[in-house]
Every structure is written in C-alpha cells, then in structure tokens.
C-alpha cells in the first residue's frame, strides 16, 4: 500500500502540466508568428508528456487500475488539483507569455528539487523535466523582456498581464498536509520553500523588462482542493469529449 499522500501529491504535478499544456495547444495554428506557433506547440508537447509520466506514477500509487488516460479524461473539474493560474483562458499573447514565465520559473525550481526525491522514478522524470523547463524559462523570459521593453502597446499589455496574473501566483507556493508529508518522507518538495527563489528570479526579469512587480497581497486559491474557476469545466469539456464519447477506443 503506497503512502496516502503520494497519489494526491503526484496528481497536482500532473494536473498543472496537463491543463497548461492544453491551454498552450490552443495557440496551435493561431500563433502571432510561425516560430511562436511552433514554440508554443513544442512547449505544450513537453508539458503534456511530463503530465503523462506523472499520471502513470500517480495511477500506480493509487492502485485502482487507473492509467494516464483514465486520469486525464475521466475525471470532472472537482477532481482536478491544478493551480487556478493554469486554467485561466489563454488571453492575448502577453497573458500566455507572462503566465508561462511565472509557471516555468516555478516548475524549474520544483523539478530541480524533485531530482533529489527518494522515489527513483519521480527523480528520473524530474531530471528530464528540468532540462525542458530550463528552455521554457529562457523562451518565456526572453519574451517578457521583449514585450515589456518593447512598444507602448506591448508594454501596456504585458503589464496588464502581470497585474492580472499576480494574484494567482501565491497558490503555487501554498503548502498543506499533503505537501508536508511528501516532503517529510523525502519524496516531495514543500512548495513554500521555493517562494523566495522564485520571487528573486521573477523580479529580476520583470525589472529588466521595465515592468512593475505588483504589491497586492491578496491571493486567489482553491485549485489544490478542487475549487476551480468556471473556465476549467469548459476546457475539460473540449479536451475530454472524444475520449468520453468513445471510451476505450484505440487507433
């Protein structure tokens, strides 16, 4: 019998990446320039790939015979444990890029810490994800600077995206009993320990981008407990329709 914290802990890792990967995939064929269309689809592929690996581990930890497809396609919004930030609509390119930067910087720190997990499989997946997160951060940070320190219009939109998304960043670093038990067992990392490093890195890039770091302290929360925005249900209905209409189909 696996530890009871393991399944919900892995589910959070997987859900963050699946939902953000899906949001990014919405840009496919709609990118502002061809290179960015390809870049966002590539990053989506990495995130969905990482999610698949985490779901596989989660399914094994749960021990109910659910595989990665079962977990991705046959759960409802209340069962998802992703942070609220990743389910928000893709918005304009500025929103997509700023969110990607916020998440990738977080993901890199998280995955770096998880390479030291006592769970060898989790550590292996994390080592892979570190390499991918590193170029995700580079890509999005470069764009944050380009947009922030760009034209009047691009600066305005980038700043608006920073202001709108800021209140969703706090949830990434919340820590509850699941995180603390996972950390105590040497398997997981307590997200609250990543907050300072994240803030330092993010502020450095925002400053370089001539963007102002918001000072609001009120933070949205709920995703880790299954309390989501209305946007998640719409996303899931699109993402899950084929799998649910043809359960067990293969090609």
């Amino acid at each position: 019998m696996a530890d009871s914290f393991l399944f919900p802990y892995l589910l959070r890792l997987a859900d963050d990446r699946l939902i953000l990967g899906h949001r990014l995939s919405e840009w496919c064929g709609h990118g502002p320039i061809l290179e960015e269309d390809i870049a966002l689809a590539n990053i989506a592929l990495d995130l969905i790939g990482e999610a698949t690996l985490f779901y596989k581990l989660a399914g094994e930890a749960e021990g109910q015979g659910r595989n990665e497809d079962g977990l991705a396609y046959f759960r409802d919004a209340v069962d998802f444990r992703n942070a609220l930030m990743v389910e928000l609509p893709k918005g304009d390119f500025g929103v997509t890029i700023v969110r990607q930067f916020f998440f990738s910087a977080y993901s890199l720190l998280q995955m770096e810490a998880l390479t030291k997990s006592s769970n060898a499989e989790l550590a292996g997946i994390a080592a892979k994800a570190v390499k991918e997160s590193r170029y995700h951060v580079r890509h999005s940070a470069q764009w944050v600077v380009t947009l922030g320190d760009g034209t009047e219009e691009s600066h305005k939109r980038a700043q608006r995206a920073v202001n709108d998304l800021w209140r969703y960043t706090g949830e990434l670093f919340l820590s509850d009993a699941i995180d603390q038990e996972a950390a105590k067992a040497g398997i997981g990392v307590d997200p609250s320990t990543l907050a300072d490093a994240w803030r330092t890195q993010v502020m450095e890039v925002l400053q370089r981008a001539t963007l102002t770091t918001p000072t609001v302290n009120y933070m949205q929360r709920g995703g880790r407990d299954g309390k989501h925005t209305e946007h998640l249900g719409h996303l899931l209905s699109e993402m899950q329709i084929v799998a649910r209409s043809h359960p067990g189909a293969s090609w």
Binding site: I43, D46, I125, K128, E132
Partner: protein, 171 residues
Amino acid sequence: MNRAAPSRAVPSRDELFELLDTVKDPEVPVLSVVELGIVRDAVADEHGVVVTITPTYSGCPAMHEIEQEIRKALAEHGIGPVHVRTTYTPAWTTDWIGEEARAKLEAYGIAPPGRQESSDLIPLRRHAATVRCPYCKSLATERKSEFGSTACKSIWVCRDCRQPFEEFKAI
C-alpha cells in the same frame, strides 16, 4: 525428435545492439536508435529479450513507433518474445551521440548538438552558442527559434549562404 529445439542460440548483447543499430529514428532517419542513445540496454536469455529504451523528450511522440520498429527488427531475425522497457534514469542527453553520428547529422543537413547550454536563465546575459552551418560551414549563423519541427531541434539561418537549417539542441 526434439521439435522444440530453439532455432538459434541466445544472442549476445553485441549481436542485439548490431540488430538494433538497423532501427532508424523516425524523425531523424539518418541515425539509428542506438546511435542516438535511445537504446540503453539489451539482454537476452532463453525466455526472450528485454530491450531498455529512454525517451529523448518527455512528450516525444515517436516512442511508440520506435518500440514497434525494435520488435520488428528483432522478430525478423527470429528473436523474441521482446519486452521493451522504458526508463527515465539517467535522463537522456545529447552527450550520448558519438562523433560518427554527429558527422552523419551534419552531412544530412542538421547541425549536430554543441556543448550544453549554461543554466543561466536570464536572457541577454547568455553567451551565444557557436553553431556551424551544415551547408557552407560558416560560423556566421543566428538562431531564429529555440523550437523547430520536432522537440529536439531548433531553427537557425546562415548569414553567409542564407540557408535556413535545423540544429539538434544540446540538452
């Protein structure tokens, strides 16, 4: 009469690797899955073969096809049953691509992976990596995008011969 006698002896690791070296990567058909370092191990005993592979990228869509091609290549030589096991440790790195394979990549028009990128995450402070144009060998090249036609490649353009080309990203 012993009709159950095995048709061939248990193949050695070297023999298995030789056969697996005929399996090309579907997205980089100039290199084999052995040359790319995707095949990590192959062990045979009287019950069958276990081939251990590792994905290049987490979301690499070619893994299923590679698995099928591995089974096919071994089955053609009467080797089986084949169990393909996937491992994630150690994480795949372009450092596993040998000199000969790098030369093949360049001849095919893909710049081979260079040194690992530094882990410095803040843009503009990073040193530009030197990538040689696989066509005219000029070093006057610039990166257009870190993302190319597949997860493992980036897009470059040569300022001398004006040829766009792809680079196998170093990770």
